[in-house]
Each structure stands twice: as C-alpha cells, then as structure tokens.
C-alpha cells in the first residue's frame, strides 16, 4: 500500500489527476472477486498504458486490466490486486477501411459501437440498433461508414462488452459455425507487456507470416500476459439476407436427428443452436407465441437470398420429417433481435439469480448428443434449474445454473455436478470453464477445467514474460 501511495503521484503525472480514482466509493465497482483495488487508472492511449505498467512493474504492483467488466467473474480470485487499468478511454476507432475489409480499434471500444459504425445508410446493421439505443446510453460515435459491413463475431454481452475484453477472454457465439473464432479474424494486435513494453504484430494484411503469431497467444490470455490496446480485425459485407428458423421438438431424439440431418446436408447455416425450454423462456423480447417444446433449435441463415430460400425450404422439410412441434421464421429485425436476446441470456439470468454459476463446456463435435443427454440427466436428477445453449456444429455449450444463492444445498449440488460434467467433457477430448460463480464457491470449482499436457509450457511462458507475477496474478489457468 505504501508503495502504491508513493507511486500515485507518478501515476497522476502520467494520466492526469482526474483520471485516477482511489476513493472507496470509486474503486469498489472495480472489485474482482471481492478484492478491491487501491487505485483505478484510466490511461488515454497505448503509450500511457505502457507508462502505467512500467511504473507498476518497478514496484511489483499487481495489475488487472478491465474493460466493461462483463467477464471479471471468471477465473481464480486474484492473489493480490493493487491497481485496475481501465480501458474506458482507449475508445478510438483508429482506422475503418471497409474497402480493404479491415478495421483497427482501441481495446475499450464497445462491440456494439463497432457494429453500429459499419451499418448501411439505412441503418441496416448486424445488431438490432434501435433496441440497443433504448437499452443503454448513446453510441460513442454517431458517425457511420455506411459500408454495410460487420465484424463476424457474435459474443454474448453484445451491448456492453468491449472488443479488448472479448478478445482477451476469447468470447464467442453461435455463429462461429460459419465465421470462425476470434483467432480466425484478428489480423493484428498491439499490447503492453508486463514489463511495460509496447509490442505489436500483424496489421491490415489478411496474410502475414513475418514472425511468431503473438496475436494467437494473446487471445484468451485473460489479462495474464499484458494489456491488449489496439487490434485489427477482418470485416465481412453484411449478408444479403438474414433469417432464422426456429423449430421445437418434444424429444431429444428428434431434436438431435434434425440437427444431424441439417449438418450433414450440404447447406451452410451460420449457426445451429440447440436450447432447452428454460433457455428459450429466458430470452427477452420473446413476444411470439411459439411453442418451445422440450427443446428448440434455432438456425441462423445469413447469405444470398437464393441460398437462404433453399436452406429454409429444405430445413423446414427435414423438421417436419422429425415431427417438429412448432416452427417459425424470423427475418431481418426479428432475426437480429432473436440472436441478440440469446446473447444476453447470461446477463439477464445473472440479474435474476444472484447465485448463478455459468459453465462453458467444450468437447469434440461428435459428442454433442452424449454431453447434452448427460447434462440433462444429471442436472434434473439433482433437481437443478438450468438453461442450456449448445452450439451443435461446434462442440460447445453454455449452462447457466439458476441459483438464488440462499439455497446453499442447491449450490452445493451444482458444484458437484460440475465436477461430473468436467469428467464427461474430458472423455470427449474437451474441457470446461466456469465463467461466473459466486466467489465463495470458487475454491470448490474446477474454474479452468482440468489442466492439460500443455500446462508446463504455459507456465514457462508466463514465468518468462511476467517473472514478477504482476499481471492478473493467480487468476488464470492453474493459478498462473
């Protein structure tokens, strides 16, 4: 603490006294797992981030980077925490080059602002713009490129998440089926290392093999290797047509038969998401009188009109073959709203269930049916309430355990079933990550799943790059 006090003058000199907070009321909202930082610093650009980290490194102060805070509940509680570096002022769109289909932004820019910036003149956007505007404060820029492009990512928390946070946590959504993972669309990155150096690699070219690909290392590094400051990503033109088919089934047998059939057909859906009834009921804006059945499957179609028409026709036919309960099609606004609400499920559930635990499972694609059935059996027999969303073609699913926090017995049952789920995903060559959990349960949970063969190498990297252990100390995989 005294170290920090001594350093505060220096920090103030770097960012200006108005951009550092130390008051109790100010720092509390930046607490991580109940641990409150002694200072929150708001650097205005990459150089200031570098100066701040250099300063912290000299005195071995523990630093955690902070975007909008939507994922700060993940990982182990920090071993120590002196300073939070907020990326809130790193909010410039540095280069919007829609002709080259790339754009460069600073880490604190919000995902929705990027999508809004890329909308067409008529405000056709990848996200439901009108809905977003009423939901939260104004967009940081009213300027539009009118290019009709979008950034091909659909992470959860689309309203508030920053691009830096999305990449640092490797946050993905259902439409990765068509568009790939953050690692596939990030072409360049600049970050500040634990010793304060500004390091960059890649850029505006879509191919680049001129050195080690650090960008891959930094994606998903969750603040353990440095502060992401600036990134260049690929864009795509907005699909000519965007529609959603939503079908429901009464049995898992028919659900899975439908899913397998459409994945085996030579069709190119953007997403195939299987959800349980509870998940469907949790979506906001859920105004339709659709009968969700036991399971519903949502298929996103985002491409040329002709291809959308054909897929719709074929898929609805297949749904009929497998005795779908109900089916409905959303287009454009309906489509955007639907996927947006799905992305917000975790956030809205967290508001209602203060004890919520969210687990993200990954496994090899072919095991998706086993995993869902196992989850359903295990969780229902443990009398747990949960929402389940499964990226069927990708080998991933997210489970929100709907716990109010007061029922400790239920929370304990949830904790023990998560252990069982982990065993199951490991058998399927996968793993499990706890994305949110009340701090008091964390010590009993496999927060980063089971360490794998490559852990010793991760340790070597962390120790090499951050020998003093100042970046998000203890929070990452294996307590790195």
């Amino acid at each position: 603490m005294t170290d920090l006090n001594n350093r505060c003058d220096e920090l103030m000199a770097i960012v200006g006294p108005e951009h550092i907070r130390t008051g109790d009321g100010d720092v509390e909202q930046y607490a991580v797992d109940g641990m409150t930082p002694k200072a929150v610093v708001f650097p205005k650009d990459t150089q200031q981030v570098s100066d701040v980290v250099t300063c912290a490194n000299l005195k071995s102060l523990a630093v955690i980077p902070f975007g909008s805070g939507t994922k700060m509940a993940a990982g182990h509680p920090p071993k120590r925490l002196d300073m939070v570096i907020s990326t809130a002022r790193l909010n410039r769109m540095v280069d919007v080059d829609t002709d080259n289909l790339t754009f460069t932004v600073e880490a604190g820019v919000k995902f929705r602002d990027i999508q809004a910036r890329l909308a067409t003149e008529e405000d056709r956007c990848y996200l439901p713009l009108e809905d977003l505007e009423t939901e939260t404060e104004a967009f940081i820029c009213s300027e539009r490129s009118h290019s009709g492009c979008f950034m091909p990512l659909d992470p959860p928390f689309a309203t508030s998440a920053t691009i830096g946070g999305i990449l640092a946590s490797n946050s993905t959504g259902p439409r990765r089926l068509l568009y790939g993972l953050p690692r596939d669309i990030l072409t360049g990155i600049r970050f500040v290392t634990p010793d304060g150096a500004i390091v960059g690699t890649g850029g505006k070219t879509v191919k680049n093999v001129s050195g080690y690909d650090f960008s891959k290392l930094m994606i998903g590094s969750a603040g353990s290797l440095g502060v992401l400051c600036e990134m260049t990503l690929r864009l795509l033109p907005l699909p000519e047509r965007m529609e959603t088919i939503l079908v429901s089934f009464d049995s898992f047998k028919n659900t899975s038969a439908f899913v397998e059939a459409i994945l085996d057909a030579q069709l190119l859906p953007a997403a195939v998401e299987v959800m349980n009834k509870r998940a469907f009921e949790g979506f906001k804006n859920n105004k339709s009188d659709f009968v969700p059945g036991h399971y519903a499957v949502a298929v996103a179609l985002e491409t040329y009109g002709e291809a959308v028409d054909r897929m719709k026709l074929e898929m609805l036919g297949i749904a009929k073959d497998f005795e779908a309960e109900d089916s409905i099609v959303f287009s454009e606004d309906g489509h955007r709203l639907f996927w947006h609400s799905m992305g917000n499920l975790q956030a809205s559930m967290a508001d209602r269930f203060p004890g919520m635990i969210t687990a993200k499972l990954n496994y090899q694609i072919s095991d998706w049916k086993n995993i869902i059935q196992f989850t359903d059996d295990t969780l229902s027999s443990n009398l747990l309430e949960y929402t389940l969303l499964c990226h069927a073609g990708n080998g991933g699913c997210t489970i929100n355990f709907l716990l109010d926090g007061d029922d400790t017995a239920a929370s304990e049952r949830a904790v023990s079933t998560i252990g069982l789920l982990l065993e199951q995903t490991c058998k399927a060559n996968g793993n499990l990550v706890v994305q949110t959990a009340p701090t008091n349960l964390k010590k009993d949970l496999p927060l980063w799943g089971k360490p794998r063969f490559d852990f010793p190498v991760m340790e070597r990297i962390k120790n090499q790059l951050d020998p003093k252990g100042i970046m998000s100390p203890g929070c990452f995989v294996g307590g790195l």
């Binding site: 080059d97 002709d99 080259n100 289909l101 490797n170 790939g180 690692r183 290392t193 390091v199 960059g200 690699t201 890649g202 505006k204 070219t205 879509v206 191919k207 680049n208 093999v209 001129s210 050195g211 080690y212 690909d213 650090f214 960008s215 891959k216 290392l217 994606i219 998903g220 290797l225 033109p237 907005l238 030579q266 069709l267 190119l268 491409t303 002709e306 291809a307 028409d309 054909r310 897929m311 990954n362 090899q364 694609i365 072919s366 080998g395 995903t425 399927a428 793993n431 990550v433 980063w448 799943g449 794998r452 063969f453 490559d454 010793p456 190498v457 991760m458 990297i461 090499q464 990452f476």
Partner: protein, 468 residues
C-alpha cells in the same frame, strides 16, 4: 561430443540405416529451395515420435542444434543448418493416422505430403483447404512450420486456421499435446503460436487437421486484361464490393509467356494480365455473384472473360497457375520470390512500384500471385553464377519488401522469414517487438538449439559491436 560418437548414438536410436552421415549425404541436406547453403553434422530419419524424442533428448544433453525438415521446399532458408547440428528428416513419418469424419478431423504424421492428404479426403467428399502451389511435394509438417497459404486461402484462411492440435517434442525431448479435436480449450492457444514458428520452438510429430465438406458447386473464370492496372483495380474493387471469392489469382505478361511456353494453358500471349477467379459454395445465388463480378471486370476494361464449362476446362485454367513457378524457372536458371503482402486496396500501387524496381536494377520480374490476399510474388529472374547480377537481385528484393512495408503491408504473406528476411524484419518490427519474440523463444528453447539463427535477428547492439 565428437561427431563419430554422435553418429553411433543416433544409430542406436533410429537404426543405422536411418542415419546419414557421408559427405555426399550431408551435401544433399545442405540446401533447400532458398539461396543459402550450410552443411549439417548428421541427418536422422526417425520412424516414430519416441525416436524423435530420444534424438532431441540426446541433442539437448549434448547442446547440439537440431532442425526439423520436410521436403525442403521452403523459400527462406528455413532448413539450412547454419550452425550445424542434426537434421531430423520426416520422410519416414508419412502416415495418415486417422480420418475422423464425425469430428471433421484428420490426424497425420508430419511427413505426409499435402496433396496426398487432399486426394485422400477428396474421395470422401471433404477438403483440407490450405493448398500451397508446392502441395505435390511439400509436407504437412513443413506447412505447419511455415503457416503456408495458397490460392484458396482467400476464402478459407491459411494453415493456422486449419490446424486444431499438435503432438510436439519440446527442447528437452518431452512430448506434449497442444490443442486437440475439441476447439477452444482453456489456456493459451499454443497451437496458434506454434504454427508458423519455422521449427524454432518445437518439433511437431503429429498434427490434427480440420476437414471441411467439399463445396457443392464451383465456378471458375479467367479474366483477361490489356493493362496490369486494370487487373489490379479489379481485384481491389471485387473486395471493396464485399465479394470474397474462393480465389483471386493474378499473372502478368511475363509469367503468361513462360506458362504458355511450358504448359499451354491457353492464356493469350499478348495479354498484360490474367485473373483466375473462382467461386465456390452453394450454387444458389452463385450466378448472381458471378454476374456482379463480370460487371466489375467490365468496369475495369476487361478484354474477355472465359468461364470454365467443364471440369477439364477448369483444370486447364488452373494448370497455368500451378505450373507458373516451374515455367518461370525455364526462363533463367534461378529466381527469387519476394512474398511481401499489402492491404488489398494498395495492390495497384504496389505492382506499379515493383515494376519500377525491375527497371531500376535492370532485373526481369514476373508476377504470379494471390491477388485477393494482397500477397505479391514478384519472381526476380537471374543467373546465380553471375555474382554481380545476384547482388542486384538481392537489393531489388529488399527494396520490394520495403515498398510493401511502407504501404502498410508486411514482408511475408506465406513463405516466412527464415534467414533470408532476417534483416527485413526491422522494416516492420521495432526492437521491443523483436525482444518479445526472443522472450518467447527463450521460454521454449533457452539453449537456442531448435533451428538456431532463424526468424529473429540478433539484437541491434550485437550487430553494432560486430561492425566495429
């Protein structure tokens, strides 16, 4: 350890017939497809991961450098043993271990030839997308080492987008797995870091690759131009209109001439440039896309557009592109391929400047390249025996890379750094970037045994002391 003893120990590990150490053998492994030369101390041909691990353990204990080698077709000196040591050649580890259709993966040993896997999975209705022009000879281990690209990478991405996991041998011989059949594992994306690391961080002994359903329909066309600018402008315009074809390949007149003299692809000899444009995916809406592309071509004064109507016509259009490097080799004894890359909007400018370099240094340059990715391949043709000419070629090459860097691009789109572009890394990286790379190298290989002297230049200070 003395060399004879090293040979004995290696023979104990892999069997005496799988160690090469005669002067002639070593000579054969002293070069690759680049312009550099250096002789190794020994060459081993391991048959299994276990043998690789034992060889590496021995090298680690004895502090002997070691280098993985596939087919040696890399263009940047990646397999040249500039500090001597052991070459680990993967020609015997060339089995496809598993094709797992339900999980859409193939597991292979690193010595499998790229095209062999592609032919194998094509029969099952699948593709392995990265298709370097050298696919007939290059190995998947080499593709992993260089993060290779190819014509279809415009739509599908390069090697790194298609490698899900790898079994790798670390500096001390430990064998670990990174990634796996399931995507998105928690922790650092080591697979992503290792692809393209040119054998300087680990040796890969197994790879898990992503398979994709073969597209339902393919449409291939050839657009013929009277000026190279029109061709280049078409490329930028197609991307700017938001169309991403499967491929957008360009060849200029010099290459067209060479190609026609060797493979007779039917390109018009007087054309200034041709573009191969291929669309793939669902047939629905494809005609519309093709029409839009034709429109863009017309806007940029295309002379003629030919559409392949049959599979054999398609193969014909591609034959020229695939045979281009070989054809160019017939014009002059050697060529140097610079693989600088620019943002796609800067392509017309970049090409114009490359042609200025050709004039300035009086060296013939032919262009055959992945235009849609902005990935240039100016082939500077020369005679290696003419030292003075070679000197000019190297200068021209370096200048072209500088042009790319200055246009907001980079010095390599797919061939890597190796030793050939060490100096040029400074065009795009500052000392701090390079220092970070050195730290990564140190984390994996503190004794600098894995392919030493590649990819990362010596710190600037060392260079200065050497100069004094």
């Amino acid at each position: 350890m003395e060399k004879p003893e090293l040979i004995v120990r290696l023979k104990e590990i892999v069997g005496s017939e799988h160690v090469l150490s005669s002067d002639m053998d070593l000579e054969l492994y002293s070069y690759d497809a680049s312009l550099d030369r250096a002789t190794p101390d020994a060459v081993v041909l391991p048959g299994s991961t276990e043998e690789v691990s034992k060889v590496v353990t021995l090298a680690y204990k004895e502090k002997i450098p070691f280098i993985g080698r596939g087919s040696g077709t890399n263009l940047t000196g990646g397999t040249i043993p500039i500090k001597g040591g052991i070459i680990i050649h993967f020609s015997r580890m060339n089995r496809i271990l598993e094709i797992d259709i339900p999980n859409r993966t193939a597991t292979v040993q690193p010595g499998v030839i790229t095209l062999d896997l592609q032919t194998h999975v094509a029969k099952l209705g699948f593709i392995y997308a990265p298709d370097p022009a050298s696919q007939k000879v290059s190995t998947l281990g080499g593709n992993f080492g260089e993060n290779s690209g190819g014509p279809h990478c415009l739509k599908y991405g390069v090697t790194t987008n298609h490698i899900l996991g790898a079994e790798v041998v670390l500096d001390d011989g430990t064998v670990i797995w990174t990634g796996g059949k399931a995507q998105n594992n928690p922790g650092y994306d080591l697979t992503g870091l290792l692809v393209g690391s040119e054998g300087t961080l680990v040796i890969a002994t197994k790879l898990i690759l992503k398979l994709i359903r073969a597209p339902e329909a393919v449409k291939t066309m050839l657009a013929i131009y009277n000026t190279i600018e029109d061709g280049a402008n078409t490329v930028s315009a197609i991307i700017a209109e938001g169309i991403i074809p499967a491929t957008l390949e360009m060849m200029d007149n010099k290459v067209i001439q060479a190609v026609e003299a060797s493979v007779h692809a039917g390109y018009p000899l007087d054309a200034a440039a041709v573009l191969i444009i291929e669309l793939d995916g669902m047939p629905d809406g494809m005609d519309k896309k093709a029409e839009k592309i034709s429109e863009i071509c017309n806007r940029h004064h295309v002379r003629e557009i030919r559409l392949a109507k049959t599979e054999s016509e398609r193969a014909g259009l591609w034959a020229g592109r695939k045979g281009a490097f070989g054809a160019v080799a017939r014009l002059r004894p050697s060529y140097m391929c610079c693989d600088g890359t620019v943002p796609r909007t800067r392509l017309p400018e970049a090409l114009a400047k490359v042609m200025e370099v050709s004039k300035k240094y009086d060296v013939p340059i032919g262009n055959v390249f992945h235009a849609g990715d902005g990935n240039l391949h100016p082939l500077i043709m020369f005679d290696e025996r003419d030292e003075e000419e070679k000197e000019r070629v190297l200068k021209a090459g370096s200048e072209i890379l500088k042009i790319c860097a200055d246009l907001g691009g980079t010095i390599s789109g797919e061939h890597g750094v190796g030793i050939e572009k060490l100096k040029e890394t400074r065009l795009i990286f500052c000392e701090q970037d390079l220092e970070f790379a050195r730290q990564i190298k140190k984390a994996f290989d503190p004794m600098d045994l894995l392919n030493p002297g590649k990819m990362i230049p010596e710190p600037e200070t060392t260079i200065k002391t050497m100069e004094f």
